[in-house]
Symmetry: C2
Subunit: 702 residues, 2 copies
């Protein structure tokens, strides 16, 4: 197409400019943005981010300008180039793991080294023997071996026990035969496997002398180290395009009686003795399940900032996008109204803004709980059993460590709740941007699409709720038997029991802590209801799944409300920030809690946690007042999340408000489709008259 | 990559095969699938679909095998080629508009001729004079002129009055000067404009002698008919990639004092007299607004089948996907459980299955209402005012035609509700497919992404609710003043008033018609509540937007429940189908209604529409029973929607259940990414060792 003509380049948006409108918004509040950012991240972390960001911006390979235009193959090729460069930068600048992760986060796209950097290395380290560290880990750390973690199969997701891939011990030549007996045994969804990895940790059913010992991890080479072609009897490739995550090469892998040496079975916790051909377990794998719990905790922590990206974009744009006049505005008053002034927009946006802080503080608390757990583990109090395997196990399995059980259950429920809030919140943010939210330039859609797997992986959000319910039922039973371990869950259950005769009277409108109590009451009520169904009425487990889902949601919502509240009452917080800031955060707390309460109204009513009158007051009155009170601080509150424009990569979310200039620039200057001139007439056989800029000349006939 | 080895080709999925599992499902029920299909579509329509489908399948250009892999540019190029072929097929087979639309639907992707075929031709026909039909419409029908409808601007969505583009009348040379005074005046989101159209209907503010007469339509040539390059002083192009809809070239358009002849202003309803230079209105444009209402009605109708695609895919796959054993299953029982047996899956899927029928029958009823309206219009009872413009108008504007007002309000509310149900339902279906739902091969994600704009266009779903509320308030006022026109809305409001003293007692568990009454009661209650806030408490309009949103939702849910119920009691339905079929449909009706009621529980309780006891019974008891009762018919019910595999283009939704074979085939054989071999090592500077199948040799260095 012709270059953008000068008369176009001279055009400005009409009316008040974006930067003026955002300036006006920022002038409405004197919230100390930097101070709030430091409360969220600490000064050190913010400086580190900035330092790394500058390095990334200076590298051409990280230029994002074509990201939204490129197809799958180009996206992947570029992502691999970036992964390589990132690795080299890490070496060059001597970044530690944390700095390396920060860089990955700033680039904000899944990369082909993703699973090598995480699960592959972690598994080698935690499940390998010193000998295996020599053989595999060293080369893996040097990226001579690039690996992935191959567990999920085409026909088997969450249920690890159902895996079909077998590893049969050959006592004669002391090898394992790795084999895929069926098509459904094909490893599937394995990140970094499709095109990148030359090794894989393969989870396979160990078979010795015809007896199966369940799934075990094997380190298997799958591609030639020179040609990078698949080895014989290993069929491997990329599984194809996805809703998002297309910079990652999720792969498939099939084995045809593939021979692997004895050393390939990771043997820290269980091994096959090559002399006796006997299987032996040693030590406890519970640390690993600690790791999985840790992964879930990070998901909770991330959910807040994941959602904050969408909220930042939608909030800034809602202050710039103007539509209609306030129908009650005086006749004289000209000009359209920024949509953020409409209560319907506030009702969609501000509770999500509140949720970003709620999830952040909850995630922080989870992390503390996790380190607390690690400490105890290292003091020798170790679990003996994998909570993640319980899906198919007996209901009453005893957990080796109460803290692990408690943390595990909490992390399951909060992972499910927080990732659902983040994913659905992002889509809500996108819609709140109106038509332009649908453009890739909004930056929300692609981000949402890449985030979506989080609600399915590390435990499907619906499946996980069963583990929460199971834990709550168990706790309730221990309370009834007066054998309750002392933790928060048993405390609220005991509390509820003790008041079962007298009921409760929480003032959810007047008291912040009463709100927490009301959430605890409703969760406890649902717990004992479910227990009645299961233990007294002996209802089938399957008939209770819906109740369990609601129960898990209720308990996790209580956890979020409780953690948000304690964060605001904690000394460190109160000390760190000005009174007015704390006051706004308290309003956000109330908005999050009461908006949630109002949405779950009937459960709060049925449980007697609060009166119908207060529920409708919360709905029609309190929430609307909070929206009004928070609205002037909205833009400064999202500013506090401190996203750099380069990170957001969004026309609508630009910090300087140049929304329309940026959208137009991307469409008119960067859009490759505009370099094609087509022949639009149906009677002509040719599709193209000519194509500029692609050097391909006239195109083939139809 | 190497071709798929033989040992892979010989592999089968483990356990019972997909076709066996689906056969077992179909054997669980003796629902007469064909008969039900004919009830939904009629035999004639089904035969027509099949006839056209055969034509499309025989044309190479419609081959879908690369759709999920191609990038934006390839998708668009292919879509244009298809649009051309489709036009030629229409001529060749002499298809009428209906058959042509059916073909477009079967192809299931937006095409570059989309806006030419609809809004461009419709606007020329309905707003052009006979002379203008000569000048423009003839050539447009022959695709010599290919057009689009350019209304929305970069800075202005729903509010047509805010448009910035001007058309200034030049009395001297009898021309209009079309001009874009600001960047925000750029036309934006205009379908078919980006690369395809050579003409556009441009909505611009008409200015005569310095006075503005509001937005009017102008037919403007924008590209050269030979070179297809933009004309001077017109800057036009594609607006870039979107969340979906990437086979369509939504475009932008700016004018620089562009001269257009007098004939270009579509003059059926208003014109500028070239001699007197005076502006004159004539006749009524209300027919056009009838058209817009019609578009909304079709959206309601489509919402059912749009959702049915996702439900078909998710239901069939849930019968094939097996996970874990029922934890209460006897120890001996081996094998994993198809997930459709889990109540948590049924709870997500079956209410959506019920919704597909609810929306279908509601849409059908809307269409009848529309033709009724058209009849009355043609009998000269015409509206004098555009309901779509009311957003910014005074609240109390009188509508010229009560039937138009009623139909308009109903279509607004139902468009918002039905498209939201369809969009969110599709995403729910995708998630219900677990991990594989995220693969493009599921067929749900791409379909969902293409459908999403529907919740924003033809009236943003949130904006529309204001028009519904305005209408309901008006109706309530007329009831209070005993001046109510006789229609269903005023009937339920009057009914509610008459019982305000005595209240109600609806048996929602025992009586199908009482359910309808309960929905009517709740909607009426909310209407008079809102009226109190507005008229007595004089609350600002903006403070009531959230209430209005809930009110519109409540009234539209009542409409759906009512229409579904009447469809099942209507003679034509009862006559057409077997008793058992009708019984299953009644269960679907109850499931849809009670599931909705349970979700809106607090409103039903607060309004007194039903007792708390019945609401919790509906929740814990009735709904669960209905899930059990409907579950055996699930697969046959989706079969009745009669989607051809070619149309679904989904591995998970295949009618023959060959889910895993199809996923594997697409990944291993069709996936172009697998033709690339990369150099994965960070220390090497080269990205590719070699590339097969793309004939591009070694790639550039990083």
């Amino acid at each position: 197409m012709a270059p953008t003509p000068d008369w176009v380049k001279q055009l400005k948006p009409s009316g008040p400019q974006g930067h003026e409108l955002l300036a006006a918004e920022r002038a409405k509040s004197d919230l100390p943005v930097e101070q709030l950012s430091e409360l969220l991240f600490t000064k050190e972390v913010l400086q580190k981010k900035q330092r790394i960001l500058n390095v990334l911006k200076s590298e051409k390979v990280f230029d994002k300008s074509q990201n939204y235009f490129s197809g799958r193959t180009d996206r992947f090729e570029k992502a691999l180039a970036r992964a390589k460069k990132l690795r080299n930068l890490r070496v060059k600048h001597n970044w530690d793991l944390d700095e390396y992760r920060t860089a990955t986060e700033l680039i904000s796209e899944p990369g082909p080294y993703g699973l090598h950097d995480s699960m592959f290395l972690i598994t080698l380290r935690e499940q390998g023997t010193p000998e295996q560290h020599e053989v595999f880990l060293k080369k893996a750390k040097n990226y001579e071996y690039i690996g992935c973690y191959a567990q999920t199969e085409l026909g088997h997701g969450s249920n690890v026990r159902g895996l079909e891939t077998t590893a049969t011990w050959n006592s004669k030549d002391k090898t394992f035969t790795i084999h895929s007996p069926h098509l459904t045994a094909s490893k599937w969804w394995i990140g970094s496997l499709g095109r990148t990895a030359n090794h894989a940790v393969v989870m396979a059913q160990l078979i010795i002398a015809g007896k199966s010992y369940g799934p075990h991890p094997f380190v298997v080479q799958i591609r030639d180290l020179k040609t990078h072609e698949p080895l014989e009897n290993a069929h491997v490739g990329d599984i194809g395009p996805k809703f998002g995550y297309n910079t990652m090469d999720n792969g498939f892998l099939l084995f045809n009686h593939y021979k692997a040496p004895h050393v390939s079975m990771l043997a820290r916790f269980s091994k096959v003795d090559p002399d006796t051909n006997k299987y032996a377990r040693q030590g406890s794998p519970s640390l690993i399940y600690g790791t999985l719990t840790w992964v879930r905790s990070t998901i909770v922590m991330q959910a807040g900032s994941v959602l904050a990206r969408g909220v930042t974009i939608a909030t800034r744009y809602s202050a710039i996008r103007r539509q209609f006049q306030d129908r009650d505005a005086p006749q004289g008053e000209k000009g359209e109204n920024p949509v953020i002034n409409y209560t319907m927009v506030q009702m969609r946006l501000l509770p999500l803004l509140a949720a970003t802080f709620a999830l952040h503080f909850t995630g922080k608390a989870m992390m503390d709980l996790y380190s607390e757990n690690q400490k105890q583990m290292n003091q020798g109090n170790k679990g003996r059993e994998d909570p993640n395997q319980r899906g198919a196990g007996p209901e009453e399995t005893q957990s080796g460590s109460d803290i692990l059980a408690d943390l595990h259950a909490t992390s399951c429920g909060l992972k499910a709740l927080s990732s659902t809030i983040a994913a659905e919140g992002l889509e809500m943010c996108r819609r709140t941007c109106g038509g332009h939210g649908y453009s890739s330039f909004s930056g929300i859609g692609p981000w949402y699409a890449d985030y979506l797997p989080t609600i399915t992986w590390e435990g499907d959000n619906y499946m996980l709720t069963q583990q929460v319910a199971r834990y709550l039922l168990k706790s309730a039973r221990s309370v009834l038997a007066n054998q309750a371990p002392n933790n928060d869950t048993t405390r609220i259950l005991t509390d509820f029991r003790s008041r079962s005769e007298i009921g409760c009277a929480f003032d959810i409108i007047g008291s912040d802590s009463d709100i927490v109590s009301a959430f605890a009451w409703r969760a406890s009520f649902l717990t004992f209801e479910a227990l009645k169904h299961r233990d007294e009425q002996k209802k089938p487990w399957n008939d209770l799944l819906v109740d369990f889902y609601r129960l898990s949601k209720a308990h996790s919502q209580y956890m979020v409300v409780k953690n948000f509240h304690s964060a605001l009452t904690a000394e460190e917080t109160r000390g760190g920030i000005a009174g007015e800031t704390l006051d706004v955060l308290r309003k956000l707390y109330r908005l999050y809690a009461l908006h949630t309460l109002e949405q779950e109204g009937s459960e709060f009513y049925v449980s007697g946690a609060c009166s119908r009158n207060q529920i409708s007051l919360a709905r029609t009155n309190a929430v609307m007042k909070l929206l009004k009170a928070i609205r002037p601080h909205a833009v400064r509150l999202v500013d506090a999340w401190a996203f750099d424009d380069w990170v957001l990569d969004s026309s609508l979310g630009r910090k300087d408000g140049k929304v329309y200039e940026d959208m137009f620039y991307r469409a008119s200057e960067l859009n490759p489709l505009n370099r094609i001139t087509v022949d639009p007439y149906p009677d002509s056989e040719v599709l193209f008259k000519r194509i500029e800029g692609r050097g391909e000349g006239v195109r083939s006939k139809l």
